[in-house]
Symmetry: C2
Amino acid sequence: MLDFKAAVNKLRSYLKENNLRFTTERLTILEEIFNYPSHFDAEQLFIHIRNKHDNISRATVYRTLDLLSQIGILKKENLGHNYASYELDFNLPHHDHLICLECGKVVEFADPVIEKRQREICEKNGMEMIRHQLQIFGRCREHDKK
Amino acid sequence: MLDFKAAVNKLRSYLKENNLRFTTERLTILEEIFNYPSHFDAEQLFIHIRNKHDNISRATVYRTLDLLSQIGILKKENLGHNYASYELDFNLPHHDHLICLECGKVVEFADPVIEKRQREICEKNGMEMIRHQLQIFGRCREHDKK
DNA sequence: AATCAAGTTGAGAATGAGTCACGTTTCATG
DNA sequence: CATGAAACGTGACTCATTCTCAACTTGATT
Ligand SMILES: [Zn+2]
Ligand SMILES: [Zn+2]
Ligand SMILES: [Zn+2]
Ligand SMILES: [Zn+2]
């Protein structure tokens, strides 16, 4: 996948610029993330990785997720659980989330009107917007027939 | 304060309807919440209460916060920390939050256009909306002059 | 290719928010 | 004011995440 190579390059150059090391662990984790469904959590991913590479530790997975989030390859978000979720955020347009409380399904959406109003709200309040997160929690219609 | 009495009544009737007890602990905690700034967290509140009433336990504070959230006297929310925040939600209109990452200031806002679009997004995706949460993280202009 | 300083890792201990179990206390009703 | 269910306080526990630190890589330099 092209994006993967580009992400590796981005990681590599960030590390070089900051005198950090390009390790096989970091590469492996990035690779596995690209083969893994979005909106995953650290523990899930760690177990997945452990099944294929029995030498990567939980701490390294957590540390690498942090690193990749800082660089802008991942986005860390709260989807209403008591743990963080992550998804790729590399050359991808912004979106927010609609989450079914019944089955956990996550729908992504992006609404230009909502986005615009947010910028205006920041403006009005003398704030510079850094990021935002909109989560709508609901219930799929199919769960109605109880 | 009038709202406080009304909230006590709401609590009292909810408890009666469900064969639960109106305890002094529950009353005390509700009272302290009304004297406490909004968007507080459980631990903060617990310490505050402990300074005045040395017999109320942490577990009871947590249990009561849950109870009050279920009844609709409080709203439990995630303001971007690794702990929950709470605020009064009794006879108050819905709002969302604008949070300064520099100083932690929280601005409340409600935007009818955003709210309407959210309902439409749910509609379009065959979901029934239960609740939502929009957090905008930014930086107050006054921090710019670094 | 050998060296070496500094960054990184794995293992497991530590942390911190929140929950649970359980023996004791309190409330509401008769 | 006796009764029994509901709540309480304590402290142990859970679970995600972070920290510590000795051992191990990395990559720039000889
Ligand atoms: Zn958005
Ligand atoms: Zn997403
Ligand atoms: Zn809203
Ligand atoms: Zn608020």
